[in-house]
Protein backbone atom coordinates (compact mmCIF):
# COMPACT_ATOMS: atom_id res chain seq x y z
CA UNK A 1 0.00 0.00 0.00
CA UNK A 2 2.69 2.52 1.06
CA UNK A 3 6.31 2.12 -0.03
CA UNK A 4 8.97 4.54 1.16
CA UNK A 5 12.39 4.46 -0.55
CA UNK A 6 15.53 6.27 0.62
CA UNK A 7 13.51 9.18 1.94
CA UNK A 8 15.51 12.16 3.15
CA UNK A 9 14.49 15.54 4.47
CA UNK A 10 16.94 18.33 5.15
CA UNK A 11 15.39 21.52 6.53
CA UNK A 12 16.48 24.99 5.39
CA UNK A 13 18.62 25.41 8.50
CA UNK A 14 20.54 22.25 7.54
CA UNK A 15 18.88 19.98 10.10
CA UNK A 16 18.43 16.42 8.76
CA UNK A 17 14.93 15.35 9.84
CA UNK A 18 14.95 12.07 7.92
CA UNK A 19 17.94 10.03 6.76
CA UNK A 20 17.53 7.31 4.10
CA UNK A 21 14.23 6.01 5.44
CA UNK A 22 12.93 2.79 3.83
CA UNK A 23 9.58 1.35 4.85
CA UNK A 24 6.88 -0.86 3.41
CA UNK A 25 3.35 -0.74 4.80
CA UNK A 26 0.96 -3.44 3.62
CA UNK A 27 -2.75 -3.09 2.99
CA UNK A 28 -4.89 -2.98 6.16
CA UNK A 29 -1.82 -2.98 8.38
CA UNK A 30 -1.70 -1.22 11.76
CA UNK A 31 1.66 0.37 12.51
CA UNK A 32 2.98 2.24 15.50
CA UNK A 33 5.61 4.78 14.59
CA UNK A 34 7.51 5.41 17.80
CA UNK A 35 10.52 7.38 18.90
CA UNK A 36 11.48 10.40 20.97
CA UNK A 37 10.44 13.96 20.11
CA UNK A 38 12.34 15.22 17.08
CA UNK A 39 12.92 11.68 15.74
CA UNK A 40 11.11 12.54 12.48
CA UNK A 41 7.71 10.87 13.03
CA UNK A 42 5.61 13.93 12.16
CA UNK A 43 7.87 14.80 9.21
CA UNK A 44 7.40 11.30 7.80
CA UNK A 45 3.59 11.43 8.21
CA UNK A 46 3.44 14.91 6.65
CA UNK A 47 5.23 13.59 3.59
CA UNK A 48 2.81 10.71 3.14
CA UNK A 49 -0.10 13.12 2.68
CA UNK A 50 2.08 15.63 0.81
CA UNK A 51 1.92 18.34 3.44
CA UNK A 52 5.70 18.46 3.16
CA UNK A 53 8.07 17.46 0.37
CA UNK A 54 11.15 15.25 0.71
CA UNK A 55 14.64 16.49 -0.19
CA UNK A 56 15.30 13.16 -1.90
CA UNK A 57 13.83 9.68 -2.12
CA UNK A 58 10.31 8.64 -3.02
CA UNK A 59 7.01 7.59 -1.50
CA UNK A 60 4.70 5.30 -3.47
CA UNK A 61 1.03 4.88 -2.63
CA UNK A 62 -0.50 1.98 -4.50
CA UNK A 63 2.62 2.06 -6.71
CA UNK A 64 2.02 5.71 -7.63
CA UNK A 65 5.08 7.89 -6.88
CA UNK A 66 3.98 11.00 -4.95
CA UNK A 67 6.61 13.13 -6.74
CA UNK A 68 4.64 12.65 -9.96
CA UNK A 69 1.49 14.11 -8.41
CA UNK A 70 0.82 17.61 -9.65
CA UNK A 71 -0.13 20.33 -7.16
CA UNK A 72 -3.67 20.32 -8.51
CA UNK A 73 -4.02 16.61 -7.75
CA UNK A 74 -2.92 16.89 -4.11
CA UNK A 75 -6.49 17.47 -2.82
CA UNK A 76 -7.56 14.21 -4.48
CA UNK A 77 -4.67 12.37 -2.80
CA UNK A 78 -5.67 13.81 0.57
CA UNK A 79 -9.24 12.62 0.13
CA UNK A 80 -7.81 9.10 0.27
CA UNK A 81 -5.81 9.71 3.42
CA UNK A 82 -7.50 10.61 6.68
CA UNK A 83 -5.37 12.54 9.16
CA UNK A 84 -5.78 12.85 12.95
CA UNK A 85 -3.83 15.44 14.95
CA UNK A 86 -2.83 15.82 18.57
CA UNK A 87 -4.39 19.31 18.67
CA UNK A 88 -7.59 18.04 16.94
CA UNK A 89 -7.77 20.92 14.43
CA UNK A 90 -11.54 21.31 14.74
CA UNK A 91 -13.34 24.43 13.55
CA UNK A 92 -14.31 26.12 16.83
CA UNK A 93 -17.37 27.96 15.52
CA UNK A 94 -18.96 24.94 13.90
CA UNK A 95 -20.91 22.16 15.53
CA UNK A 96 -19.74 18.56 15.67
CA UNK A 97 -22.02 17.76 12.74
CA UNK A 98 -20.73 20.71 10.69
CA UNK A 99 -17.10 19.84 11.41
CA UNK A 100 -17.55 16.33 10.04
CA UNK A 101 -19.85 17.36 7.21
CA UNK A 102 -17.28 19.97 6.13
CA UNK A 103 -14.94 17.22 4.90
CA UNK A 104 -17.73 15.75 2.77
CA UNK A 105 -18.88 19.13 1.49
CA UNK A 106 -15.50 19.82 -0.07
CA UNK A 107 -15.85 16.49 -1.85
CA UNK A 108 -19.25 17.52 -3.26
CA UNK A 109 -21.32 14.88 -1.45
CA UNK A 110 -25.06 15.46 -1.67
CA UNK A 111 -26.87 16.73 1.42
CA UNK A 112 -28.65 13.39 1.91
CA UNK A 113 -25.37 11.48 1.64
CA UNK A 114 -23.68 13.86 4.06
CA UNK A 115 -26.48 13.33 6.58
CA UNK A 116 -26.25 9.53 6.22
CA UNK A 117 -22.45 9.32 6.40
CA UNK A 118 -22.12 11.73 9.33
CA UNK A 119 -24.74 9.75 11.29
CA UNK A 120 -22.92 6.48 10.57
CA UNK A 121 -19.53 7.81 11.65
CA UNK A 122 -20.93 9.49 14.77
CA UNK A 123 -22.43 6.14 15.67
CA UNK A 124 -19.04 4.46 15.14
CA UNK A 125 -17.22 6.91 17.43
CA UNK A 126 -20.10 6.84 19.92
CA UNK A 127 -21.02 10.54 19.84
CA UNK A 128 -24.44 10.50 18.15
CA UNK A 129 -25.94 12.52 21.00
CA UNK A 130 -23.44 15.35 20.62
CA UNK A 131 -23.81 16.31 16.98
CA UNK A 132 -25.11 19.80 17.79
CA UNK A 133 -22.38 20.56 20.34
CA UNK A 134 -19.54 22.96 19.65
CA UNK A 135 -15.92 21.79 20.18
CA UNK A 136 -15.51 23.91 23.31
CA UNK A 137 -18.41 21.96 24.88
CA UNK A 138 -16.56 18.65 24.45
CA UNK A 139 -13.89 16.86 26.50
CA UNK A 140 -10.44 16.17 25.01
CA UNK A 141 -11.34 12.57 24.26
CA UNK A 142 -14.58 13.57 22.57
CA UNK A 143 -12.75 16.15 20.46
CA UNK A 144 -10.30 13.48 19.34
CA UNK A 145 -13.18 11.16 18.44
CA UNK A 146 -14.66 13.93 16.30
CA UNK A 147 -11.29 14.47 14.67
CA UNK A 148 -11.14 10.73 13.90
CA UNK A 149 -14.74 10.78 12.65
CA UNK A 150 -13.89 13.62 10.26
CA UNK A 151 -10.80 11.74 9.05
CA UNK A 152 -12.67 8.54 8.22
CA UNK A 153 -16.10 9.84 7.22
CA UNK A 154 -15.41 9.30 3.52
CA UNK A 155 -13.87 5.84 4.14
CA UNK A 156 -10.29 6.60 3.09
CA UNK A 157 -8.06 3.51 2.67
CA UNK A 158 -5.32 5.10 4.82
CA UNK A 159 -5.53 6.78 8.23
CA UNK A 160 -2.58 8.67 9.70
CA UNK A 161 -2.70 9.69 13.36
CA UNK A 162 -0.04 12.01 14.74
CA UNK A 163 0.15 11.69 18.52
CA UNK A 164 -3.63 11.16 18.83
CA UNK A 165 -3.40 10.54 22.57
CA UNK A 166 -0.76 13.16 23.28
CA UNK A 167 -3.05 15.41 25.30
CA UNK A 168 -5.39 12.78 26.74
CA UNK A 169 -5.57 10.94 30.07
CA UNK A 170 -4.70 7.18 30.12
CA UNK A 171 -8.30 5.89 30.07
CA UNK A 172 -9.32 8.15 27.20
CA UNK A 173 -6.10 7.22 25.37
CA UNK A 174 -7.14 3.57 25.62
CA UNK A 175 -10.55 4.35 24.17
CA UNK A 176 -8.96 6.21 21.27
CA UNK A 177 -6.56 3.38 20.52
CA UNK A 178 -9.39 0.84 20.57
CA UNK A 179 -11.31 3.05 18.19
CA UNK A 180 -8.32 3.19 15.84
CA UNK A 181 -8.07 -0.63 16.02
CA UNK A 182 -11.76 -0.87 15.20
CA UNK A 183 -11.21 1.36 12.16
CA UNK A 184 -8.25 -0.81 11.13
CA UNK A 185 -10.52 -3.83 11.31
CA UNK A 186 -12.77 -2.16 8.71
CA UNK A 187 -9.97 -2.55 6.11
CA UNK A 188 -8.18 0.73 6.72
CA UNK A 189 -4.41 0.96 6.84
CA UNK A 190 -3.55 2.82 10.05
CA UNK A 191 -0.25 4.47 10.99
CA UNK A 192 -0.08 5.95 14.48
CA UNK A 193 2.83 8.12 15.57
CA UNK A 194 3.09 8.03 19.36
CA UNK A 195 5.40 7.92 22.32
CA UNK A 196 2.81 6.40 24.60
CA UNK A 197 4.77 3.36 25.80
CA UNK A 198 1.92 1.73 27.69
CA UNK A 199 -0.44 1.62 24.73
CA UNK A 200 2.19 0.34 22.31
CA UNK A 201 3.27 -2.42 24.63
CA UNK A 202 -0.27 -3.54 25.45
CA UNK A 203 -1.78 -3.55 21.97
CA UNK A 204 1.02 -5.63 20.38
CA UNK A 205 1.04 -4.38 16.81
CA UNK A 206 3.85 -3.74 14.32
CA UNK A 207 6.22 -1.15 15.77
CA UNK A 208 8.63 0.96 13.69
CA UNK A 209 11.11 2.93 15.78
CA UNK A 210 12.62 6.15 14.51
CA UNK A 211 15.58 7.87 16.10
CA UNK A 212 17.37 10.97 14.80
CA UNK A 213 15.65 10.57 11.43
CA UNK A 214 16.57 6.90 10.96
CA UNK A 215 14.54 3.69 11.34
CA UNK A 216 16.45 1.78 13.96
CA UNK A 217 13.94 -1.04 14.55
CA UNK A 218 10.98 -2.61 12.75
CA UNK A 219 9.19 -5.41 14.65
CA UNK A 220 6.05 -7.23 13.50
CA UNK A 221 4.73 -7.65 17.04
CA UNK A 222 6.81 -5.13 18.83
CA UNK A 223 7.38 -3.21 22.00
CA UNK A 224 8.26 0.36 22.76
CA UNK A 225 11.94 0.10 23.69
Amino acid sequence: MIKIKNLEKVHKNGFKALKKVNLHVGKNEFIYLVGPSGAGKTTLLNMIFKFDTPTSGEIFIDNCPLSSIHDRQIPHLRRNIGVVFQDFKLLPKRTVYENIAFALKVMHYSRANIRRKVSQVLDLVGLTQKESYFPNQLSGGEKQRICIARAIVNDPPILLADEPTGSLDPDTSWEIMHLLSKINARNTTVIVATHNKGLVDDLRKRVVTLESGKIIRDQQIGFYQ
Binding site: R72, P75, V83, K89, L91, A103, V106, H108
Partner: protein
Amino acid sequence: MIFSNIKFFIYEAIIGLNRSRLMFLTSIATIAVSLTVFGFFILVSLNLHSISNYMSSKFEILVTVQENLPQQDIKRLRAKLSRMPLVHSATFVDKDKAWAEFKKKYTHLELANLIDVNPLPHSITLQVVELNEVKGLVASLKKETPTIDDIIYSGDLSEKLIVFAKYSQIIGLCLVGFLLLATLLIIINTIRLTVLARIEEVTIMQLVGATNGLIRGPFLFEGMIIGLIGALTANLILYFGYQYITQVFFEFAPYFPIVSDKAIVFTVLLIVGASGPLIGLLGSNISISRSLKL
Protein backbone atom coordinates in the same frame (compact mmCIF):
# COMPACT_ATOMS: atom_id res chain seq x y z
CA MET B 1 -21.19 20.54 -9.41
CA ILE B 2 -20.80 24.20 -10.39
CA PHE B 3 -24.14 24.97 -8.75
CA SER B 4 -23.20 23.12 -5.58
CA ASN B 5 -19.84 24.94 -5.55
CA ILE B 6 -21.53 28.33 -5.85
CA LYS B 7 -23.93 27.36 -3.06
CA PHE B 8 -20.94 26.32 -0.95
CA PHE B 9 -19.09 29.59 -1.73
CA ILE B 10 -22.06 31.78 -0.85
CA TYR B 11 -22.81 29.82 2.33
CA GLU B 12 -19.17 29.94 3.48
CA ALA B 13 -18.82 33.61 2.47
CA ILE B 14 -21.89 34.56 4.54
CA ILE B 15 -20.58 32.56 7.50
CA GLY B 16 -17.20 34.29 7.14
CA LEU B 17 -18.71 37.76 6.89
CA ASN B 18 -21.04 37.10 9.79
CA ARG B 19 -18.10 36.08 11.95
CA SER B 20 -16.18 39.29 11.31
CA ARG B 21 -19.15 41.64 11.29
CA LEU B 22 -17.35 44.76 12.48
CA MET B 23 -14.61 44.46 9.87
CA PHE B 24 -17.25 43.69 7.26
CA LEU B 25 -19.28 46.81 8.11
CA THR B 26 -16.18 49.00 8.25
CA SER B 27 -15.11 47.77 4.82
CA ILE B 28 -18.56 48.37 3.34
CA ALA B 29 -18.63 51.89 4.77
CA THR B 30 -15.16 52.70 3.42
CA ILE B 31 -15.94 51.29 -0.01
CA ALA B 32 -19.31 53.06 -0.08
CA VAL B 33 -17.55 56.38 0.61
CA SER B 34 -14.89 55.72 -2.05
CA LEU B 35 -17.45 54.71 -4.66
CA THR B 36 -19.69 57.65 -3.80
CA VAL B 37 -16.79 60.03 -4.41
CA PHE B 38 -15.94 58.04 -7.53
CA GLY B 39 -19.51 58.36 -8.84
CA PHE B 40 -19.67 62.00 -7.80
CA PHE B 41 -16.56 62.76 -9.85
CA ILE B 42 -18.01 61.03 -12.87
CA LEU B 43 -21.12 63.21 -12.53
CA VAL B 44 -19.05 66.36 -12.02
CA SER B 45 -16.95 65.44 -15.02
CA LEU B 46 -20.07 64.86 -17.13
CA ASN B 47 -21.47 68.21 -16.05
CA LEU B 48 -18.25 70.01 -16.87
CA HIS B 49 -18.35 68.36 -20.26
CA SER B 50 -21.95 69.45 -20.64
CA ILE B 51 -21.04 73.04 -19.68
CA SER B 52 -18.16 72.99 -22.12
CA ASN B 53 -20.44 71.72 -24.91
CA TYR B 54 -23.11 74.19 -23.97
CA MET B 55 -20.65 77.04 -24.04
CA SER B 56 -19.23 76.01 -27.39
CA SER B 57 -22.62 75.53 -29.03
CA LYS B 58 -24.05 78.67 -27.50
CA PHE B 59 -21.06 80.80 -28.19
CA GLU B 60 -22.85 83.45 -30.06
CA ILE B 61 -22.77 87.17 -30.23
CA LEU B 62 -26.20 88.59 -29.87
CA VAL B 63 -26.64 91.83 -31.75
CA THR B 64 -29.79 93.72 -30.86
CA VAL B 65 -30.96 96.27 -33.39
CA GLN B 66 -32.24 99.74 -32.68
CA GLU B 67 -35.90 99.93 -31.90
CA ASN B 68 -38.17 100.87 -34.82
CA LEU B 69 -35.50 100.02 -37.39
CA PRO B 70 -37.36 99.08 -40.62
CA GLN B 71 -37.31 95.46 -41.78
CA GLN B 72 -35.43 96.47 -44.94
CA ASP B 73 -32.58 97.93 -42.86
CA ILE B 74 -32.50 94.88 -40.60
CA LYS B 75 -32.15 92.63 -43.68
CA ARG B 76 -29.35 94.83 -44.98
CA LEU B 77 -27.59 94.74 -41.62
CA ARG B 78 -27.84 90.91 -41.45
CA ALA B 79 -26.38 90.62 -44.95
CA LYS B 80 -23.56 92.98 -44.05
CA LEU B 81 -22.75 91.07 -40.87
CA SER B 82 -22.78 87.68 -42.59
CA ARG B 83 -20.21 88.93 -45.07
CA MET B 84 -17.74 89.81 -42.33
CA PRO B 85 -14.69 87.46 -42.41
CA LEU B 86 -14.84 86.50 -38.69
CA VAL B 87 -18.55 85.68 -38.82
CA HIS B 88 -19.57 82.13 -39.60
CA SER B 89 -23.29 82.83 -39.86
CA ALA B 90 -25.79 85.54 -39.01
CA THR B 91 -29.39 84.64 -38.17
CA PHE B 92 -32.22 87.06 -37.72
CA VAL B 93 -34.38 86.42 -34.64
CA ASP B 94 -37.80 87.97 -34.66
CA LYS B 95 -38.61 89.49 -31.27
CA ASP B 96 -42.10 87.91 -31.03
CA LYS B 97 -40.73 84.49 -31.87
CA ALA B 98 -37.90 84.95 -29.36
CA TRP B 99 -40.35 85.95 -26.61
CA ALA B 100 -42.58 82.95 -27.33
CA GLU B 101 -39.63 80.58 -27.16
CA PHE B 102 -38.35 82.18 -23.98
CA LYS B 103 -41.70 81.73 -22.28
CA LYS B 104 -41.92 78.15 -23.47
CA LYS B 105 -38.44 77.30 -22.18
CA TYR B 106 -38.97 78.80 -18.73
CA THR B 107 -42.62 77.88 -18.18
CA HIS B 108 -42.09 77.41 -14.43
CA LEU B 109 -41.21 81.12 -14.11
CA GLU B 110 -44.74 81.93 -15.34
CA LEU B 111 -43.51 85.03 -17.20
CA ALA B 112 -46.77 85.46 -19.09
CA ASN B 113 -48.52 86.33 -15.81
CA LEU B 114 -45.83 88.80 -14.80
CA ILE B 115 -45.10 90.74 -17.99
CA ASP B 116 -47.75 91.89 -20.45
CA VAL B 117 -45.58 93.30 -23.24
CA ASN B 118 -42.70 91.71 -25.07
CA PRO B 119 -39.51 93.16 -23.56
CA LEU B 120 -37.21 91.64 -26.19
CA PRO B 121 -35.87 93.54 -29.22
CA HIS B 122 -35.30 92.15 -32.73
CA SER B 123 -31.87 90.60 -32.86
CA ILE B 124 -29.29 88.93 -35.04
CA THR B 125 -27.21 86.09 -33.63
CA LEU B 126 -23.71 85.71 -34.95
CA GLN B 127 -21.74 82.49 -34.79
CA VAL B 128 -18.06 83.17 -34.91
CA VAL B 129 -15.33 81.39 -36.86
CA GLU B 130 -12.75 81.47 -34.07
CA LEU B 131 -13.38 81.92 -30.35
CA ASN B 132 -10.11 83.79 -29.83
CA GLU B 133 -11.14 86.47 -32.33
CA VAL B 134 -14.32 87.43 -30.52
CA LYS B 135 -12.93 90.55 -28.89
CA GLY B 136 -11.68 92.00 -32.22
CA LEU B 137 -14.97 91.21 -33.91
CA VAL B 138 -16.98 92.97 -31.20
CA ALA B 139 -14.73 96.06 -31.42
CA SER B 140 -15.15 96.31 -35.21
CA LEU B 141 -18.94 95.81 -34.93
CA LYS B 142 -19.21 98.70 -32.51
CA LYS B 143 -17.22 100.93 -34.85
CA GLU B 144 -18.72 100.04 -38.21
CA THR B 145 -22.45 99.60 -37.62
CA PRO B 146 -24.38 102.46 -35.99
CA THR B 147 -27.73 100.68 -36.41
CA ILE B 148 -26.73 98.21 -33.72
CA ASP B 149 -28.25 98.98 -30.36
CA ASP B 150 -26.26 96.57 -28.18
CA ILE B 151 -23.82 93.66 -28.41
CA ILE B 152 -24.25 90.87 -25.87
CA TYR B 153 -21.67 88.11 -25.49
CA SER B 154 -20.07 86.16 -22.65
CA GLY B 155 -16.53 87.03 -23.72
CA ASP B 156 -13.70 86.12 -21.33
CA LEU B 157 -15.92 84.07 -19.04
CA SER B 158 -16.76 81.56 -21.77
CA GLU B 159 -13.16 81.10 -22.79
CA LYS B 160 -12.10 80.62 -19.18
CA LEU B 161 -14.90 78.15 -18.52
CA ILE B 162 -13.91 76.06 -21.52
CA VAL B 163 -10.29 75.92 -20.32
CA PHE B 164 -11.49 75.19 -16.78
CA ALA B 165 -13.72 72.36 -17.98
CA LYS B 166 -10.88 70.81 -19.93
CA TYR B 167 -8.46 70.81 -17.00
CA SER B 168 -11.15 69.75 -14.54
CA GLN B 169 -11.87 66.69 -16.63
CA ILE B 170 -8.21 65.69 -16.61
CA ILE B 171 -7.96 66.23 -12.84
CA GLY B 172 -11.28 64.43 -12.36
CA LEU B 173 -10.05 61.42 -14.32
CA CYS B 174 -6.85 61.28 -12.24
CA LEU B 175 -8.90 61.46 -9.03
CA VAL B 176 -11.25 58.73 -10.22
CA GLY B 177 -8.24 56.50 -10.98
CA PHE B 178 -6.76 57.24 -7.59
CA LEU B 179 -10.05 56.47 -5.82
CA LEU B 180 -10.45 53.18 -7.65
CA LEU B 181 -6.94 52.22 -6.61
CA ALA B 182 -7.67 53.22 -3.01
CA THR B 183 -10.87 51.13 -3.05
CA LEU B 184 -8.91 48.18 -4.42
CA LEU B 185 -6.31 48.50 -1.65
CA ILE B 186 -9.06 48.63 1.00
CA ILE B 187 -10.56 45.39 -0.30
CA ILE B 188 -7.13 43.72 -0.55
CA ASN B 189 -6.49 44.62 3.07
CA THR B 190 -9.93 43.57 4.32
CA ILE B 191 -9.78 40.17 2.66
CA ARG B 192 -6.19 39.73 3.82
CA LEU B 193 -7.32 40.25 7.41
CA THR B 194 -10.17 37.76 7.04
CA VAL B 195 -7.81 35.25 5.42
CA LEU B 196 -5.31 35.63 8.27
CA ALA B 197 -8.11 35.34 10.83
CA ARG B 198 -9.14 32.05 9.21
CA ILE B 199 -5.76 30.62 8.36
CA GLU B 200 -6.42 27.55 10.55
CA GLU B 201 -9.67 26.92 8.76
CA VAL B 202 -7.85 27.15 5.43
CA THR B 203 -5.27 24.62 6.66
CA ILE B 204 -8.06 22.26 7.73
CA MET B 205 -9.69 22.68 4.32
CA GLN B 206 -6.40 21.75 2.67
CA LEU B 207 -6.01 18.74 4.94
CA VAL B 208 -9.45 17.33 4.19
CA GLY B 209 -8.80 17.61 0.46
CA ALA B 210 -10.39 20.88 -0.58
CA THR B 211 -9.17 22.09 -3.96
CA ASN B 212 -7.57 25.52 -4.24
CA GLY B 213 -10.62 26.73 -6.13
CA LEU B 214 -12.87 25.63 -3.30
CA ILE B 215 -10.66 27.41 -0.75
CA ARG B 216 -10.49 30.61 -2.80
CA GLY B 217 -14.18 30.66 -3.70
CA PRO B 218 -15.67 31.83 -0.38
CA PHE B 219 -13.07 34.61 -0.09
CA LEU B 220 -13.76 35.78 -3.64
CA PHE B 221 -17.47 35.84 -2.86
CA GLU B 222 -16.79 37.78 0.34
CA GLY B 223 -14.91 40.40 -1.68
CA MET B 224 -17.74 40.55 -4.19
CA ILE B 225 -20.41 40.84 -1.50
CA ILE B 226 -18.50 43.64 0.26
CA GLY B 227 -18.01 45.43 -3.07
CA LEU B 228 -21.64 44.93 -4.08
CA ILE B 229 -23.14 46.21 -0.82
CA GLY B 230 -20.66 49.12 -0.82
CA ALA B 231 -21.65 49.96 -4.41
CA LEU B 232 -25.37 49.72 -3.68
CA THR B 233 -24.96 52.04 -0.69
CA ALA B 234 -22.95 54.45 -2.85
CA ASN B 235 -25.64 54.31 -5.55
CA LEU B 236 -28.38 55.17 -3.08
CA ILE B 237 -26.38 58.18 -1.83
CA LEU B 238 -25.57 59.24 -5.40
CA TYR B 239 -29.10 58.82 -6.71
CA PHE B 240 -30.86 60.78 -3.99
CA GLY B 241 -28.00 63.26 -3.59
CA TYR B 242 -27.87 64.04 -7.30
CA GLN B 243 -31.65 64.25 -7.51
CA TYR B 244 -31.56 66.87 -4.77
CA ILE B 245 -28.74 68.81 -6.48
CA THR B 246 -30.52 68.88 -9.86
CA GLN B 247 -33.70 70.01 -8.12
CA VAL B 248 -31.83 72.89 -6.49
CA PHE B 249 -30.29 73.90 -9.84
CA PHE B 250 -33.66 73.75 -11.62
CA GLU B 251 -35.14 76.02 -9.02
CA PHE B 252 -32.37 78.56 -8.53
CA ALA B 253 -30.34 78.40 -11.75
CA PRO B 254 -32.65 77.04 -14.47
CA TYR B 255 -30.34 78.23 -17.23
CA PHE B 256 -27.48 76.06 -15.91
CA PRO B 257 -26.97 73.05 -18.24
CA ILE B 258 -26.91 70.40 -15.49
CA VAL B 259 -27.03 66.80 -16.71
CA SER B 260 -30.46 65.49 -15.75
CA ASP B 261 -31.01 62.88 -18.42
CA LYS B 262 -32.15 59.76 -16.52
CA ALA B 263 -30.39 57.42 -18.97
CA ILE B 264 -27.03 59.15 -18.34
CA VAL B 265 -27.49 59.17 -14.56
CA PHE B 266 -28.47 55.48 -14.58
CA THR B 267 -25.43 54.67 -16.70
CA VAL B 268 -23.24 56.31 -14.04
CA LEU B 269 -25.04 54.33 -11.32
CA LEU B 270 -24.53 51.17 -13.36
CA ILE B 271 -20.79 51.89 -13.68
CA VAL B 272 -20.52 52.46 -9.93
CA GLY B 273 -22.68 49.38 -9.23
CA ALA B 274 -20.53 47.17 -11.43
CA SER B 275 -17.24 48.63 -10.17
CA GLY B 276 -17.95 47.54 -6.57
CA PRO B 277 -18.17 43.76 -7.11
CA LEU B 278 -15.48 43.82 -9.80
CA ILE B 279 -13.02 45.63 -7.55
CA GLY B 280 -14.08 43.29 -4.73
CA LEU B 281 -13.33 40.25 -6.86
CA LEU B 282 -10.00 41.61 -8.07
CA GLY B 283 -8.96 42.76 -4.59
CA SER B 284 -9.77 39.46 -2.91
CA ASN B 285 -8.07 37.53 -5.69
CA ILE B 286 -4.84 39.52 -5.21
CA SER B 287 -5.15 39.17 -1.45
CA ILE B 288 -5.65 35.38 -1.46
CA SER B 289 -2.83 34.86 -3.92
CA ARG B 290 -0.51 36.82 -1.64
CA SER B 291 -1.69 35.46 1.71
CA LEU B 292 -2.22 31.81 0.88
CA LYS B 293 0.15 31.34 -2.05
CA LEU B 294 -2.66 29.50 -3.82
